[in-house]
Symmetry: C2
């Protein structure tokens, strides 16, 4: 007997048939005696259709009106899922973001949750009802409808679990859990039984794509146990929680990778104290996400700075740099395309200083050139040629023995 | 310089192209210097698609969840129309029912508006903004989303016009105004320049279909001048207001008609005091709308009651009557299908007692048998054979000289 928050993403509710399947997953938990809050996204491609409608009207719709438009998507899903639950004889009730008390900052398109007024939901749960809540959306103090940005429904689920002090937050998705690496590329990839918040954060940030980093951060801050699991299979998924109870002796937990990376080098910069901040503040203001940054000192008064961006952002990046050429005072820009990022992640690295060295050795043995490196306490990222990406992942997966289950929670 | 409420129905906003056209109609009023509030319905067939989705889940969706589902329809339209207005350089802002302060009773599917908190809308209008409001929807004191039932967007527009003390409420539709009779059947049908609330109420109730009776009643109660006009043509429509300023000397203003009427006769009833109320209370409880009622006294202790229903309601009507046969204590039920109702409407009848007689004479001259009659101060309805319907309408339209414009406002 506890309180479970279940979250089902867009693909899990992509059709009436799938919504009926979700209803069964909800009923299962209810039948186990749990109170259940369900958070759902918009049906499959419905968000894309709404975006396409807006684009027919204008290339640059205002973010307030986009929020108004897109939030209808989850509202459709909550009503249909609630009907399905009612049709099976279960007492269920749907809530939009504003009805569920999900308050956000007054920012459209990417608002953060500031507070959740759980009074109404608690009342319904006490009455034995299943509450079905629209993910991704909230309301400002002024009554404006907002959306939470990418991964918003994950965030809604975790935030509700935290606010309601739920025993668990289950994130149902179209994959059975978090893997040591992407099983579409590496056949020996293994589903992890458990992973720490920090490791998941690194993996999420590195593009593993199962869970949005904001949701993981929220879960970590409020110590909400998360489980990532399949919406169609019954097997257990991957539990995400604090370190203590997990497969301790794994140094590397997973390998993330991402192609279509470009390295940009700004050459001949005056090496002043503010050079770095000027460049990256300028790029940040244009919403260009810079990843790995390397500054090389050439020994003269001039310096070079390299950084990696997604290839899709390259055009804008160069435009911004050229626009501010005078202010930034550099000689020229060099770019290298068709790169990829390969990263190993694991809390065990903190106490194992040789992990980065081992990674470089493995890559060298396979004749893979490392073009950039970035490290944190629990990850090492390298940039390699795109053509070497899968080879690098496979070699690292083998070398760190990720296909072997070394301990079970 | 005034405040205009414009309402555009589902067919007027049925596509992106049509929404862009609506934007032009809104901008026209704004350019004339008026403050503008726009009320819109869901796009064309989108409500039908949502209903179909619900039906895939369950044959009997709960009315609360249907409201949750259907209200997304107008929310899509308000955001798209607002984007279109913004794209043309106009400051516009969209509001759902709850955001616009439209409070209703706590009844799902067919709620009545109880209050409108206009503070937010007035603020936006004072800032020079165009407010785009979702029709058909409201919110209860408890924060439940409700819908206003059929013709709901008309009601929203009129109620907003009343609450904001608007100078005028323009109902844009796919016909150019209110006609003396249906121009698809009678070639000489003429668009009326003006009509009184009461006449419009009778016509609306009689199935003229241009405006929902609830909206007309609301407009009458709050003395909101309405204009029914085309959303595609520029010409003036039909003004609906109090009697004073209109074509006074028209005795009959319009002719309404409706096919697929069935007469039901309950024979051999014990003629007690409560017989009538028992029958019609029973039918009302089953949501069967009864129209014309005739009680014939046969001179004995037994009586018969005839009434007309829509043919589509006949099966349920007979089922209900048979279910309550013992309580109602009648001998048998007779039904006659393939009937139609033809009604003449006009305020001038109040002071012209011979109008009904003239109507019967016209019908008799055309060999049209009158099967039932019902009168009010400003209308006479007759039930005739379905095959005689158009002939009756044409003859009456001629006899009362409706194709002639006798006075202009």
């Amino acid at each position: 007997m506890g309180l479970i928050v279940q979250k089902f993403g867009g693909t899990s509710v992509g059709s009436v048939e799938k919504i009926l399947n979700v209803a069964y997953r909800v009923i299962e938990e209810k039948q186990r005696g749990h109170d259940v809050v369900v958070v759902v996204s918009a049906m499959g491609k419905s968000t894309d259709s709404l975006v396409a409608l807006a684009k027919e009207i204008t290339e640059q719709p205002s973010s307030r009106e986009m929020d108004m438009l897109l939030t209808t998507g989850e509202q459709v899903t909550i009503s249909l899922l609630t009907m399905a639950l009612q049709n099976k004889g279960y007492d269920a009730v749907s809530y939009t973001g504003w009805q569920a008390g999900i308050e956000t900052e007054n920012i459209h398109g990417n608002a953060r949750i500031t507070n959740i007024d759980t009074a109404k939901l608690k009342e319904r749960l006490n009455e034995g009802k299943i509450a079905v809540v629209a993910g991704f959306q909230g309301v400002t103090a002024e009554g404006e409808i907002t959306t939470l940005g990418r991964g918003g429904s994950d965030t809604t689920a975790v935030a509700l679990a935290a606010a309601l002090k739920a025993d668990k937050c289950d994130i149902y998705t179209d994959v059975p859990g978090v893997f040591t690496t992407d099983p579409r590329y590496v056949k020996t990839a293994r589903k992890l039984a458990g992973i720490s918040y920090d490791e998941m954060l690194e993996l999420a940030n590195l593009g593993a794509g199962v869970l949005h980093p904001r949701a993981v951060e929220f879960a970590k801050n409020y110590q909400v146990p998360l489980e990532v699991r399949s919406s169609t299979e019954k097997e257990a998924g991957t539990l995400i929680e604090e370190e203590s109870s997990m497969e301790q002796n794994l140094i590397v937990r997973g390998i993330a990778f991402e192609d279509q990376i470009t390295r940009v080098t700004v050459c001949g910069l005056a090496s002043g104290l503010t050079t770095l901040s000027t460049i990256f503040t300028t790029l940040a203001k244009q919403n260009i996400n810079v990843d790995i940054i390397i500054q090389s000192v050439t020994g003269t008064s001039k310096t070079s700075i390299s950084f990696s961006v997604k290839t899709e952002d390259l055009k804008r990046t160069v435009e911004v740099l050229e626009e501010y050429k005078d202010a930034l005072d550099y000689e020229q820009i060099e770019t290298e395309n068709r790169l990829a990022k390969v990263s190993i992640v694991g809390s065990g690295m903190i106490s194992n200083p040789g992990v980065a060295a081992e990674m470089f050795a493995v890559l060298a043995e396979k004749n893979i050139q490392v073009k950039m490196v970035s490290t944190s306490e629990i990850k090492v990222s390298t940039v390699v040629n795109e053509g070497d990406m899968v080879k690098a992942v496979e070699a690292l997966h083998d070398a760190f023995e990720l296909s072997k289950q070394t301990a079970v929670i």
